[in-house]
């Protein structure tokens, strides 16, 4: 059944192709902008804190491409369903609402992985000087880490979305979460370049597990044992986050108040 939810979401995404095309443009512009930005910063320098320009370019491109996969709007979807009351329909079905949302997000992610990220990466490789790892083991490890990225990001989205059970308008919360995730996940700037205290803080937050850790492995910054520690850390966060989700869900069930009679 859950597989069918993925399929249906996939079909729906296909039905709304315009969103998809505009998404490609946005991502291309972002990658281009960051490329020139870093190019200017590096100037004549070979490396900044162990990051070569080529590594940095790869990091930026790969992080954005990964974002295409793990990013989803589950928080907004949940908030909307709670607000307009259609969440009631979800509760008369014999399935777990959150799990359904997760799989819908996965359908969306898969769509973007296949029709967006893969062709996007090819195009980006042609335009910018990007170093891809040659070791197939790194590729495999990266794919596994990408799955965790999706899981952790979606878990955070579920938590944010469930905020709608508690406060009337969660738009602000959702926007804030998005900025925090983009910054602390190391999407804009690798966490290794953060000033000391901020880097320490980031290492204790779940966000770095979304983008920084997999991208660091992919660009070859973390390898060997370090890479295994990274994926282990992801796994820990993915499991840990289940706890607040369960607690919040249980409380939310009792608070649910269906709008519109």
């Amino acid at each position: 059944m859950y597989l069918d939810l993925i399929r249906i979401r996939f079909l729906m995404m296909l039905a709304y192709r315009v969103n998809y095309y505009s998404g490609i443009v946005i991502y291309a512009v972002n990658i281009g902008a960051y490329y020139f930005f870093w190019h200017a910063i590096y100037g004549n320098q070979e490396a900044i804190r162990g990051f070569t320009l080529a590594q940095m370019t790869t990091y930026v491109a790969v992080s954005w491409m990964a974002r295409a996969f793990y990013f989803n709007n589950l928080d907004r979807e949940i908030a909307n369903e709670v607000r307009d009351g259609s969440v009631a329909i979800q509760f008369v079905r014999p399935y777990n609402y959150l799990l359904v949302k997760l799989f819908q997000g996965f359908g969306e992610g898969l769509f973007r992985l296949l029709l967006f990220m893969t062709p996007g990466l090819v195009v980006v490789c042609l335009i910018f000087p990007i170093e891809l790892p040659r070791d197939p083991a790194v590729w495999l490890l990266y794919l596994a880490m990408l799955a965790f990225s999706f899981l952790i990001n979606s878990e955070l989205n579920l938590l944010t979305g469930m905020g709608a059970f508690y406060i009337e308008n969660v738009d602000g919360l959702i926007r804030m979460k998005r900025v925090v995730v983009d910054l602390f996940s190391g999407l804009f700037v690798p966490i290794a370049l953060f000033p000391g205290w901020l880097a320490v803080l980031s290492e204790w937050l779940p966000f770095q597990a979304i983008a920084y850790l997999p991208s660091a492995v992919f660009t070859g910054r973390s390898s060997g044992d370090e890479a295994l520690v990274a994926i282990g850390l992801q796994a820990v966060w993915a499991v840990l986050l289940i706890v607040p989700i369960m607690l919040m869900w249980r409380a939310a069930r009792k608070r649910l108040f269906v709008q519109g009679g």
């Binding site: 069918d4 079909l11 009631a88 329909i89 008369v92 079905r93 649910l256 269906v258 009679g261």
Partner: protein
């Protein structure tokens, strides 16, 4: 045989935010919110046996939808007990909902962007209905509700009537023993309404499906329900047969007469002086209305008037409609009316 629905002392309260007035109030709200507890359903109890069609009526905000949502496992009750099809709905929700079907007139349970048949197939998987059962059931429902040519259209391109018929199919694919309908005929034209009513009666007769429906359209009740539960301000003010409700609350019948000449009210009153409870009311343009209590036979009343030699041009008989009765009950306020009604049933 256990009853389909058992409700005991069921209560649901909501915390509603109170917004203070003015800018100062809004600023204070930022820091400390005030909440007011509002009880939507106040300790109601009722039992519905299997195979019954029960109408659940009341004004807007009386607590109908809240009750239905608790019975369907969507809302968690504040206190009291609910047992539907042998389950405690909110506690065993995922297993429980396989036994019920729900249609919300104001909300779609179909997927908006995909074809109707795709929605049905997805629901088949959601409810894990075996393919053979699904086929048989779908064929039957499609034929009954004449959906043949709609199945491949996306839901957003259906008319309300078409959509509602599809919603019914969607709620019945897994063959539930209990069906909850929350305003199923809202906004539909009379033809579709009639179709849906006939369909529900047939469903109830052939499959023994228990049906609980809320509605504002009392014709739904008259066509479908043997029993009515009336709610006002979260409390049950009537629970019993429709005929009983009518008999108890009906102010009798009316005979509307059009005369060919001016007839004085005194003269008319003399004619029916020996009939207890008969009252006259003069209308405009040489008309008058004779109110006849249920205890007096209509022919007696009519004989008095017709036999008197008054020039009568037209006679109309009116019965108090359920609409009027219900309006009367709502208007009379819950408290006094409620005691009277509950006390006598």
């Amino acid at each position: 045989m256990q009853p389909a629905i058992e409700v005991h002392e069921l209560r649901k309260t909501f915390k509603v935010q109170r917004n203070r007035e003015g800018l100062a109030g809004a600023l204070r709200d930022l820091f400390r919110r005030e909440y007011v507890e509002v009880a939507a359903v106040k300790d109601i109890s009722f039992t519905i046996p299997q195979g019954e069609i029960c109408g659940y009526i009341g004004e807007n905000g009386a607590g109908k939808s809240t009750t239905i949502k608790m019975l369907a496992g969507i809302l968690v009750p504040t206190s009291g007990t609910v047992r539907v099809a042998g389950y405690v709905p909110w506690r065993e929700r995922e297993r429980f909902v396989r036994h019920i079907g729900v249609v919300f007139g104001q909300r779609s349970q179909l997927w908006w962007d995909i074809g109707v048949i795709e929605s049905f197939q997805l629901l088949r998987k959601v409810y894990r209905v075996p393919m053979a059962d699904y086929k048989r059931r779908l064929d039957e429902l499609v034929e009954r509700l004449q959906l043949g040519d709609l199945l491949n259209r996306p839901v957003r391109k259906l008319s309300l009537g078409q959509r509602m018929r599809c919603e019914l199919v969607a709620s019945l694919l897994h063959n539930p023993s209990i069906l909850f309908l929350d305003e199923p005929t809202i906004g539909l034209d009379i033809v579709v309404k009639t179709e849906i009513r006939e369909f529900l009666i047939q469903l109830n007769r052939e499959h023994g499906t228990t049906i609980l429906l809320t509605t504002h359209d009392l014709q739904d009740i008259e066509a479908l329900c043997s029993r009515v539960i009336m709610l006002d301000d979260g409390r049950i003010i009537y629970d019993g047969g429709l005929d009983e409700l009518k008999a108890r609350w009906s102010r009798g019948r009316e005979i509307r007469l059009q005369f060919g000449e001016q007839v004085s009210l005194e003269r008319l009153e003399q004619l029916t002086a020996d009939l207890p409870g008969a009252r006259w009311q003069a209308g405009e343009d040489m008309t008058a209305v004779l109110k006849v209590p249920s205890a007096v036979s209509l022919s007696d009343a009519l004989a008095r008037v017709v036999g008197s030699g008054v020039d009568i041009r037209d006679i109309k008989f009116m019965e108090t409609s359920t609409d009027e009765i219900v309006r009367e009950i709502y208007k009379s306020g819950s408290a006094s009316g409620a005691e009277r009604l509950v006390g006598t049933t």
